[in-house]
Amino acid sequence: MNTLKEIAALCEDLAFDLSFARAREWKSQEAGRVVVGHMPIYFPREIIHAANGLAVGILGGGDKKLIIKGDAYYQSYICHMPRSIVELVLDKHFEGFDGFIFPSICDVIRNLSGMFQLMGEGKFVKYLDLPQNFKAHIGGTFYRHELQTVMDEVFKLNGVVITAERLNHSIGLFNLNRRLICQLYDIRQDFPWRMTAADLYHIVRAGYVIPVEEHNGILEQAVRLIQQETGDPMDKIRVLVMGAFCEQPPAGLIRTIELAGCYIVEDDFLLGARWIQGDIGTGSADPLEAITSAYLEKSTFSSSVYDVGNPKEARLLDLIRKRKIDGVIFAAPSFCDPALLDHPILQKECNDKNIRFISFLYSENTGQFKVIKEQVGTFSDSIKLWD
């Protein structure tokens, strides 16, 4: 692949392949391999990798899956993603998946774990209770035990013993993965015209469904290519999009924002891929401890983690400074309590600090962007004209 566009096109196909062909193919290539699906936002994929497994991110059907049966499982006032996940289950898209992880981010995901249990989907279903206590001997001990439970489940399936060496190796691969993604974001911050936000999104999202080694290869190429000048800078404002960390906005919406006069230079779309800020140590005799400490000490901001002593407003301001943001777009899935209950707090901060913002709701299968385009266009024009 010689251009960023070619890479992005390949990644788009991979990212939205709801048959998860690459994961199935990978599994079939060697006996003892397992495929474990995980829901948003964050799951330490290292532990599955070290157990000869592939952790596959499940982000719903987006605008690629027509909902026929899923609506019978959810009332209209519940976000869209779980119903498309149920539709995927009923249409057997997850056949061959060995297990499923549901990180504790909200009541909908929590109860979806119960629905998987009731439907008998997978050989194991684990609701991963991420601690809200960040002290090593309290929340850390609990979290470590939660991770051990996942590892035990996988061990029951393939008997692979996760040695320190194996786990350290996996940690190293995911460290590289995060570093490369961050590099892409950092370079794009200075040269946003070289790659669209939608292309970046597809490149990162592909990493949710293919082996990390392959994704690292793709990212390395992308990092090399984005350093070369392509395209021309345009008169657009620099925006941060917030609130889209779980149910994903359709790619059309990401494109619309950029077509309406914005460069998205920061976002929380695939937050899990950059959840740990920095590297996890790779030389430890107890690498599970290293993964645990990283969660406690290096987690990014999230609407699903109580922010006592670490106010979200301060972190928003940091991001705004770091990415030289002109305005914030609060985009959240309809009926998403975690995202939407953050908005009044964050918007008040924006008001107090004279930071311009707009907000709107979407769902993963939103197909009409005209209104949003007008809203974003006006927002961008007003910032260009007055600031």
């Binding site: 959810y74 929590r110 774990s113 609701y127 206590n133 707090i345």
Partner: protein, 426 residues
């Protein structure tokens, strides 16, 4: 239907208890009592009481605002302050009430918190709610107690250990600091001994619906019965007296073969026995209830009366292990049970109390209850071959209570139950 509605002694006792609580809250600044805001599911009120502090439950304030027809205005005010239409209306009602002076149900101002005790059990929105309150009451300390979910159908030693450590190292030190009192384990044990008696009574009371006619309505009246345990009285001698009196009254009703008391007097003919899943609507509580008793429908068990604790599967606090007990109590609350456990519990209710039908009142606000309810319904229908019904409303947002819609659906449901009864009789 008899129109005589005489107040039973237990009702008077409960009213006095609540009035006293709100009066104590109103006088808290003068008496120097410290005030703790916390939530109903997983409320560790015994620990609060052991420090001589007073609890405030924002959900109770919200539901009271709903019953007093104030919630619509409060919610609108919160929405004008940036809250989305799509989120839990309890939160918005509470924010709106605060914006309007924080006046409680008795007309007295509810004091600001000295401590925000986020013992969040079974609902993530609690986290967001307290993040919001933390900003409305800047500088007030937050004590967070994370309750692990019963995802694997059980409470593991690791889950209990995690909670006990949080109690010892996070919650208790903050309570000591705020109250100025030292943790007194003997005092806590004494309070828990009362709780254990109260828990026994709760089980016996809700078990009386085995009788025909059922002497109580376990949903509409049930929400009053759980009032004291969910508003800070669990563990008090008053609560023991209240429940003893209530139980005695119910036994008398059983002796006399009386049906449940409704706002319009005794229900004379019991036609349908139902199990209900989901919270009630508060803004039109009376109208909502009337739709049932007019049809001779009595609720013989409801999941909502178990949000503040599930005791009918055998759990009791153990005063000899106070902190472990509090932890297990939190983990045992209804919305902290996984979906399979919820199905099991509801099936047990349907079977034990000989229900004719199962009804879901799905609440727009509440993902904790609502997400997965349709599947619970399917499972019960399949497993028990019981007729199931479904209605929708909201807790405190009057915009989502459609009387005619609910009435139509209930009428069809009752018709279905009637037909089924005829088939079974034939």
């Amino acid at each position: 239907m008899s129109k005589e509605v005489a107040k039973e002694r237990s009702m008077i006792i409960q009213k006095e208890m609540m009035t006293r609580l709100f009066r104590d809250l109103g006088n808290a600044r003068e008496t120097g009592k410290k005030v703790v805001y916390t939530f109903v599911p997983g409320n560790i009120s015994e620990l609060i009481l052991s420090f001589d502090m007073l609890p405030v439950y924002p959900e109770i304030n919200a539901l009271q605002s709903g019953m007093r027809k104030k919630s619509g205005g409060y919610i609108r005010d919160a929405e004008q302050h940036g809250h989305s239409e799509d989120v839990c209306t309890y939160v918005k009602c509470d924010v709106g009430m605060m914006l309007n002076g924080n006046i409680g149900p008795t007309g007295e101002k509810i004091p600001s918190p000295d401590l925000l005790l986020l013992s969040y059990t079974g609902c993530f929105t609690f986290l967001k709610w307290f993040e919001t309150l933390e900003r409305l009451y800047p500088g007030v300390p937050v004590a967070l107690l994370h309750t692990p979910y019963q995802e694997a159908h059980k409470i593991t030693p690791e889950m209990t250990a995690y909670m006990v450590k949080q109690l010892k190292e996070e919650v208790i030190p903050k309570m000591e600091k705020v109250s100025g009192n030292k943790y007194d384990e003997e005092k806590l044990k004494a309070i828990l001994r009362n709780s254990s008696q109260v828990e026994d009574y709760i089980v016996k009371i809700f078990d009386t619906t085995k009788h025909r006619p059922s002497p109580i309505d376990a949903y509409f009246a049930g929400v009053y019965y759980i009032g004291p345990i969910n508003s800070g009285f669990r563990g008090t001698p008053e609560a023991v007296d209240y429940y003893a009196e209530l139980y005695k009254e119910i036994l008398t009703r059983i002796d006399k073969k009386l049906g449940p008391i409704t706002p319009e007097g005794e229900m004379e003919e019991e036609r349908f026995r139902l199990v209900v899943e989901g919270p009630p609507n508060w803004t039109h509580f009376r109208e909502f209830w009337k739709l049932f008793y007019d049809m001779g429908a009595v609720i013989v068990a409801s999941s909502y009366t178990k949000v503040g604790g599930v005791y009918d599967m055998g759990f009791r606090v153990n005063p000899d292990k106070p902190l472990e007990s509090l932890a297990e109590y939190c983990m045992n609350c209804y919305t902290n049970l996984n979906l399979e456990q919820r199905v099991e519990l509801l099936s047990k209710c349907i079977t034990d109390y000989h229900a004719d039908g199962f009804l879901v009142n799905s609440i727009k606000s509440c993902n904790s209850f609502s997400a997965g309810q349709l599947m619970i319904m399917q499972q019960l229908e399949r497993k028990l071959e019981i007729p199931v019904g479904f209605i929708e409303s909201d807790l405190v947002d009057p915009r989502y209570f459609s009387y005619s819609n609910i009435k139509n659906r209930l009428e069809s449901f009752f018709q279905m139950l009637e037909q089924r009864k005829m088939i079974v009789t034939r």
